[in-house]
Symmetry: C2
Subunit: 499 residues, 2 copies
């Protein structure tokens, strides 16, 4: 091991300690910190984020990375370390260009905007949030000018969440979906029955927690390397492959929300628990591609979790843990978890209309960054698009533009990841069935473990070392296409609704 | 504000960020970190503890403290800041003498010993733990040689947890208790009835959690400035007066354990929530005196919580939240929560025989540090003392010497704090009744809020700025004495057992 490499590892170790506590502060704020304690955590978060930023943009780090990129050093490195050095150098060169003051302003504005967003959502008052949103948009634009000079702003943002997926590619994929799904949804809605009132009875939150435990265990989320927390808006985070945290929220009159959140976040968690542990605490570990990440959570949630066969081996258990389900036949349960309807809230949408929720947000973000639509015109634009795609108009901002937290922390460009994930899922399902046989049969026979193992080997193990397009090429042997997802939707809903 | 004072405040702020994440790492490890994630947290804890230690022993801090202690600077400070500078200087002078290597070895040994202690306790195998205990004893002795040169080791340790309480004072207090309580316990046991089997039925852990919420609320623990976690061995910690965390453990067949832990930890929590918020994040805030701290948790747990009148206003509520209590008359409940018996486990002991559990540990610690009893002779010594004071002999180390975690993290000298707390409580009860009237009547009428307010004003508000002896002098106008506690025990148990 060269002296330089040794110094580099010590340096990374220290940076990693900062990342560790930044992650922990965030986790704690979202799960247990009491109201009056939030400010103390924000102070600590600001302190350690700015220390971490200073380390990640220091002259010395630049020198070390440049040194390690020299052939004489680089060729001595393992493949993993070559990847790490290459990616860190890329990140360094980007981040180095951001003025520290701008970065600190951005972090503080994010924290502040997050607090105001919650209040604005509670009061359903967009005008409270508007000036913060305005500032976050401006700062995002300014940051992108430094990180990606010469690149179109929104493409630069998309690239941060799903590398090499520019808006030209996404436009084409989403247009295919729009063209095919608009008539499909129309046909389904023509056959739709009223909602089943059995699902809005009282479902004990403690029973819901037990169901979650059972489901996490069933799909393969490991408790010795993972924990569960309670929060307002479910998320997953991880310190390493050995410590992965999922969260959930339990609604007394909506058991399906926590059930599908459990499976969704469990899918994210299974991904992280199964990354090559050699990559722990480096830029190779964890998956930095959000579309790829969402493809795994959504594969579990939708492709597996909304398949009737998934429930056959465990439906009795569900009834034991949450007795009202004993009164609901599996057939009714299956219909309800695939009840297609035009609704306001993205996170509650069925898997088909969900696509329109994302397409809408994607078009909103293009409008913000390309067409420079002013902030105060955004609620009206949102509502027009809701009417266009879902034929409904929100009665207030809380069920409209204020429903998601993403824009409050500047995550512009994240939303398309959800739908890219589903697009990949269509392709992954094809590949999986080619190699392992019929997915329905595997699920019906309780062999979900084989599916998890296949995903572990084909995708999870590689962490961030393979880009999404590389993963799809390696696993499916094809270019990314929406055709398999569309085919999956058509087949599934034709059967359910007798189209 | 002088330039020096300004620099000092910035320095403190940075140190405080380290303390903040050290506290958070500890909290998380004890409540949610999965098994495989513990090592990552220990790494971070080691990193930040050693950074914090470096800051708390730096030359620059020494210079700043010396500068601020000069009359020209010192007289400009508020009373609070004068206290802070004085105490920090005292701590600095002690800590500065500890070699950094020794400190780091100590922290690592603590972490390691804690892990081995758990395993040894699980397997009830003292020999696993013995070498770690030996090392912890040696390191503690060595550290004390640096921090308190010339002072007798065990007196130095006692002073760390309860300033100005040396073993001569404690010997006298504990001898008074032994003399009076040995015949009292004998008389009680002569009248003792068999245990009530109703208390070992099934009590739903979720119901226990609801009871805990109700109790915390009832005694005055504020949820906007506090949270609750689940852990193996309940504890309380705090970031500031605005973020105080209590924990609990729920046994399906022992509802009284979580009920009295809730009240006990709630008492610690109420103390911290009511310290003058000006002291937050300084050495004046939080209470550093463990006897005084325990006096508050034990006042709630025993003086209030084991009084029948405490339960009168809330006994119906208890039955609602945990239905098996509906079958148990309050009179039986009262007898059970004051069921005196000789038992092995300190944390499950009644309030009278509890005193002997502490006296035993105090004598063990004196034997370790004064008589240099070798580690491998300690289990036998423990068992002899159990026989002497409680007339029973543990059948294994798990219910004997391995039951407490204190020695695994080097907290020698902590145990007497629990009993000092109860001794203070006897005196505080006298003072409270003199000022507010009969405590039974206050409790019976649901006026526990008046008691909490009195404790807030008389004790909690001052945080660490008044030493225990000063608090007792100010509130009770007397020297510390065990007489009031003995009088309380005699009156209460004479009535319950018809002695």
């Amino acid at each position: 091991m060269s002296k330089l490499f040794e110094e580099f590892q010590d340096y990374l170790n220290k940076m990693n300690q900062y990342e560790h506590v930044i992650t922990l502060l965030y986790w704690d704020m979202k799960t247990v910190t009491p109201k009056m304690g939030q400010a103390g955590h924000v102070d600590a978060l600001t302190h350690f984020s700015s220390e971490h930023f200073a380390m990640s943009t220091s002259e010395r780090l630049g020198e070390m990375l440049a040194g390690l990129a020299e052939p004489v050093e680089f060729e001595e490195l393992t493949d993993t370390w070559q990847y790490i050095v290459k990616y860190m150098k890329k990140d360094y060169d980007r981040n180095k260009r951001i003025p520290a003051d701008l970065y600190n302003t951005f972090v503080q504005t994010q924290a502040q905007a997050g607090i105001v967003w919650e209040e604005a959502k509670d009061k359903s008052d967009f005008s409270l949030f508007a000036p913060h949103l305005q500032k976050i948009i401006e700062l995002t634009r300014e940051m992108t000018g430094y990180t990606d000079p010469g690149k179109e702003v929104y493409d630069a943002l998309l690239d941060q969440y799903e590398e090499d997926m520019d808006s030209a590619t996404i436009d084409a994929l989403f247009e295919d979906l729009k063209r095919e799904l608009i008539p499909l949804v129309k046909a389904i809605l023509g056959k739709q029955k009223p909602e089943n009132p059995a699902f809005s009875g009282y479902f004990d939150p403690n029973g819901q927690k037990k169901v979650q435990d059972m489901l996490l265990d069933y799909i393969g989320f490991r408790k010795d390397a993972g924990s569960v927390g309670e929060t307002e808006h479910p998320f997953t985070l991880n310190f390493s492959s050995k410590d992965v945290r999922v969260t959930n929220h339990y609604y007394e009159h909506d058991p399906l929300s926590s059930i599908f959140s459990a499976i969704h976040e469990g899918g994210h968690g299974i991904f992280e628990q199964n990354v090559n542990p050699e990559y722990d605490n480096t830029t190779a570990g964890s998956c930095r591609y959000m579309g790829l990440h969402e493809s795994q959570s959504r594969f579990y949630e939708n492709i597996l979790g909304r398949n009737k066969n998934f429930w056959i081996p465990i439906y009795d258990k569900l009834g034991e843990l949450l007795p009202p389900f004993q009164e609901i036949p599996l057939e009714d349960f299956y219909r309800e978890i695939n009840h297609v309807k035009n609704s306001f809230i993205r996170v509650n949408a069925d898997e088909v209309t969900y696509c329109f929720h994302i397409i809408l947000r994607y078009e909103m973000e293009k409008a913000i960054f390309r067409e420079q639509v002013p902030v105060d015109e955004l609620p009206a634009l949102w509502n027009r698009k809701m009417q266009e795609y879902l034929q409904i108009t929100p009665s207030n901002s809380a069920e409209g533009i204020l429903q998601d937290m993403h824009w409050s922390d500047g995550s512009f460009g994240y939303f398309p990841s959800y739908l890219l994930g589903s697009i990949y899922d269509g392709m992954l399902l094809d590949a999986l069935q080619e190699e392992l046989g019929d997915a329905d049969e595997l699920l019906r026979n309780g062999k979900i473990g084989e599916i998890t193992k296949w995903l572990n080997q084909k995708i999870h193990w590689y962490g961030s070392t393979r880009k999404p397009k590389e993963v799809i090429a390696a696993v499916c042997g094809k270019e990314v296409s929406a055709e398999p997802l569309i085919r999956y939707f058509k087949a599934k809903y034709t059967e359910i609704y007798g189209l």
